[in-house]
């Protein structure tokens, strides 16, 4: 007994470095809640924002320094995929914090809990990026999602916010139920011995023929549960309502960080865990991806609310990224998704920054509010145009390169019909993104306010306006220097490749070793 405890302790100590960033986040966030919060009085809560940014910077540093490896009974795995997506989550969280301060200031809603919840949620995402066991996938998702449920309902005196939180919570809980049921089916089908992804992959391939249906149902249920989390059609119903009701920075958060983490899990679960039974899920996932592209883009066309438009468009973007999951070459797929996600996070955060800037004046909720922005705030409008056109994937903006790389991969893998759908729907997306550009540049501003007129100090927050402009220029520069960006991903090693793996682990599938949740050689 004593020996067991000692063994457990030494195993814990041995593996702790793998989850250093998460541990750091959890400890610090707890300390923030108590006793940290005692040091700031009611009017000083906004100081938590810069502190959170510093914490995020330290987290990013820790993420970059964690070593490759696997631990905690092979529940968590740290490799290039983990770190690459962890970085995206940290960056998206930092963007959210930047966006939050001004809105919360103006609403007088600054509290430490807001920032602590973001950090807890981020810890869940960082776990999820590296989860290599269905159980750890499940609890990471829950840790991530429960914090977000609360954040969505954060403005608790607003009916829409509470309603959004409620809706998101109920559907989220429901989908978690499906997910965990699917996991239990797979656990049973694989002989009741393991939920580890690598083991499961082998066990599922060996299941007797009479449990095929069990495997099929299990895989489909896991697929459904995960599709709920990334808001892919037809499991997207919660997302427009939740997006619209949530405080706008949280909308930006939901549209970026959890999606990055959930896609990482998608890549790992389906690329590594269910690879052997890919015939069970490739077709449904194809339909899910295609439907997400079509419905997301078509529904976005009819929206009048800017946040709903971005919500539907994010459904479509998830559809594009699922192309990467479908790819039979998990390494290339992960790289393409990573690049797309990076670009998507930057552009989406930028677009939300503009929306929040306008919301500071009681505008920005509706697309009509963008009327004449080109004349009132040329820099802001130009940045917004760059974000939107980049999201639409118009060259030479960086968004084009993200799409190009993803679609190139999909064609290479033979998903030609799906790629044609993706391309045509991205032409549709140009329609609604340009609709906003129309409003900004082709319509006169209402009441023709003087461009140098009132500009209250509140609205010239240092983080937002110039930041948005910088983002825009960066998008342009990154597009023109596409080489660097693609080089980053392709050589890509540096971001996504793990320690040298033996490619012989599974003959005929080079690159598969990358995502394989098996033990390092």
């Amino acid at each position: 007994m004593n020996g067991f405890a000692q063994g457990l302790l030494s195993a814990l100590l041995r593996d702790t470095h793998l989850i250093a960033p998460q541990l750091f986040l959890m400890v610090v966030a707890t300390l923030m809640l108590w006793p940290g919060d005692l040091f700031f009085n009611r009017n000083e809560k906004h100081k938590w924002a810069p502190i959170t940014l510093v914490i995020l910077a330290i987290t990013a540093f820790l993420v970059s320094r964690t070593a490759d490896g696997e631990g905690f009974s092979r529940m968590f795995r740290n490799d290039g995929l983990t770190r690459g997506f962890q970085m995206l989550c940290v960056a998206a969280s930092a963007g959210t914090v930047l966006l939050s301060t001004r809105l919360l200031d103006s609403l007088k809603q600054q509290t430490v809990e807001y920032y602590a919840l973001i950090l807890f949620s981020l810890a869940g995402m960082l776990f999820l990026c590296g989860a290599s066991d269905l159980i750890s996938v499940y609890f990471s998702i829950e840790l991530m999602a429960i914090c977000i449920y609360i954040l969505v309902a954060y403005l608790r005196d607003r009916a829409t916010s509470v309603e959004a939180g409620m809706k998101y919570f109920l559907l989220g809980a429901f989908s978690s139920g499906i997910l965990v049921y699917g996991i239990s089916l797979l656990y049973g089908a694989a002989g009741g011995t393991t939920t580890n992804l690598a083991d499961l992959n082998q066990a599922l391939a060996l299941t007797p023929a009479n449990s095929n249906l069990l495997v099929y149902a299990g895989v489909l249920m896991v697929l459904v549960g995960m599709a709920f989390k990334v808001a892919a059609v037809p499991f997207h119903m919660w997302s427009p309502d939740a997006y619209e009701g949530a405080p706008t920075p949280i909308t930006a958060f939901m549209a970026t960080a959890p999606k990055a983490a959930a896609l990482a899990a998608f890549l790992r679960v389906f690329g590594a865990g269910f690879h052997g039974v890919s015939s069970d899920w490739v077709l449904p996932l194809t339909y899910i991806a295609g439907a997400s592209m079509i419905l997301g883009n078509v529904a976005a066309v009819r929206q009048e609310s800017m946040k709903r438009l971005l919500a539907y468009s994010s459904i479509a973007h998830v559809g594009y990224m699922l192309l990467g999951v479908l790819s039979g070459d998990p390494m290339a797929g992960a790289q393409a998704v990573w690049l797309y996600m990076l670009i998507y996070i930057v552009m989406n955060t930028g677009a939300f920054a503009v929306v929040i800037y306008l919301q500071g004046k009681g505008e920005g909720e509706r697309i009509e509010d963008f009327k004449g922005l080109g004349r009132k705030h040329p820099v802001l409008a130009f940045a917004m145009m760059i974000f939107l056109l980049s999201l639409a994937g118009i060259p030479p903006l960086v968004g084009f390169f993200g799409k190009f790389y993803l679609f190139k991969l999909a064609i290479e893998q033979g998903y030609v019909t799906l790629t044609v759908i993706a391309l045509l729907t991205s032409a549709v997306s140009a329609y609604y993104y340009l609709g906003v550009v129309n409003q900004m540049y082709f319509k006169a501003p209402e009441g023709e306010a003087a461009p140098h007129g009132r500009r209250p100090g509140l609205h010239r927050h240092p983080c937002l306006h110039p930041g948005a402009g910088r983002h825009g220029l960066r998008a342009l520069a990154a597009g023109l220097g596409g080489e660097n960006l693609l080089g980053l991903v392709l050589s890509g090693g540096s971001v996504l490749r793990t320690h040298p793996q033996t490619p012989a682990q599974k003959p005929g599938r080079p690159g598969f070793a990358l995502l394989r949740a098996g033990s390092p050689p």
Binding site: K408, L423, F442, E483, G487
Partner: protein
Amino acid sequence: MFTANTTLMLVATFLPVLGALVLLLVPKDQRRIFEIGSLLVMIASLLLSLPFWFGYDRASDAVQWFQAWTWIPALGVKFSVGMDGISLLLWLLTTFIGPIAIACSFKSIEERHKEYYIWMLVLQTAMLGVFITQDMFLFYLFWEVMLVPMYFLIGIWGGPQKLYAAIKLFLYTLAGSVLMLVAILAIYFLQHKATGSYNFSLESFQQMAPIIAQQSKTYQHLMALAFFIGFAIKVPMFPFHTWLPDAHVQAPTAGSVILAAILLKMGTYGFVRFLLPILPGATKDLMPWFIGLSLIGIIYGALVAMIQKDMKKLVAYSSVSHLGLCMLGLFALNPYGIKGGLFQMINHGISTSGLFLAVGIVYERRHTRMIADFGGLSKSMPIYATIFMIMTMSSIGLPLLNGFIGEGMILMGAFQSFPIYAVVATLGIILGAAYMLWMFQRVMFGPITAVNEKMEDLNLREILYFAPLVAAAFWIGLYPKPLMDVMDAPVRKLVEQVNPGFHAAEALAAKQAAAARLGMRGMAAPAAHHEPAPAGHGAAPAGHQAPAAPHAAPAHGGGH
């Protein structure tokens, strides 16, 4: 200093966008600076492009001034530029139209001058870029980038329905070009499978033709259709033409001019450069459909143009008809047809932009374009009426003017390949003469109203920007040989790519014809024994030269 080389080509191409960057720094109420500045930039770009006309080696069919720089090595994308005769002509047409488009905007653009001239300059660089690029990826980039400025030009400075027109233009073209992108990628991967290397260069794509020909028919046809739709939307061919009248009618005059003169040419250029050489087999398989659509375009465009009440819309539909003719020439797949098609591209650029400018003139003065509002303008605006007449005549293909040469060659080519269709196409030309002359008659002659009597004739600026168009129309009409020489070698190469052995067969046919003539002469005068030698000697090179010297065409055409 100004010898034609790659550097100068890049300078001439990117000068407009550099000018736009400089103008970006000028405060926005300095209207004059924007007008004169952008005009000077365009003229400078034109002057820098002239050495290429003289420096082009007409004997070679290679891509000249070629240079490639590594850009995205992992994908095999290179920044490679260069021109052959076909791209050279269109590139020069673009630099030629640039200053005219700027000069015609001085009065008609009343607001937001800074943005307008900056977008015009950006557009110019994007269009020039399309014609010099020798890399498929780069081509796609320029092709798409071009859309954004055009979208803003129509959307901000357009007519009452500008939003609708702008977004329609954008979406139609985007939808077409993403299909093209799929086809490009598919060939790219096929190439990887065949050769083991990733390469986007145009040359390597053209060399894929034999490998593509071994693929399944379905694959080939799908590729060809993807390219076809992408380019046909741009041309535009029936039934993808519906964006064109909207875009033309709503666009500001300069927008229409650029749209007609350059943007539509990108579609036809795409056919010549990509579809024909890369997928010759599939093109021939689908040829009946392509020709059918061209013919429908010719007739339908002409008929719809005839009933238009709006002058601009009439000219827009005439474009549909003229470009249908142009496509018919290209699809004839013989030297006359292709050269005629290329010629028609240049001619259409000159005469239709002239017509759009002319419509713009009366619109500036009266703010209406309805034919019914005018009449008797030849009395109040004699200079205008003269120029309008020249442009009308050039558009309907009157001998001595440019249109005649192009139409004549297209019909010659079409008769060689498919005589019946050529007859149908002739009908379109007759209809073309009818609607153009009818419009001219209704606008220029007849009783004059009091308002029209007070209309001012052209001022010096307007005459100045019409002058180059008129000069070009006469020059091409009277002495087309220089243009022919430039496109000679590349067209020869293209025909060889599409129809391998065409020239050899033609030379053989010419030789046989000459031999037959000799034989007959020999029968008539068997005594003259030493005569055949010099005659036979002369016939062979003539047969060789025949496709290269089309002005000798009638004699040659009689040969077989």
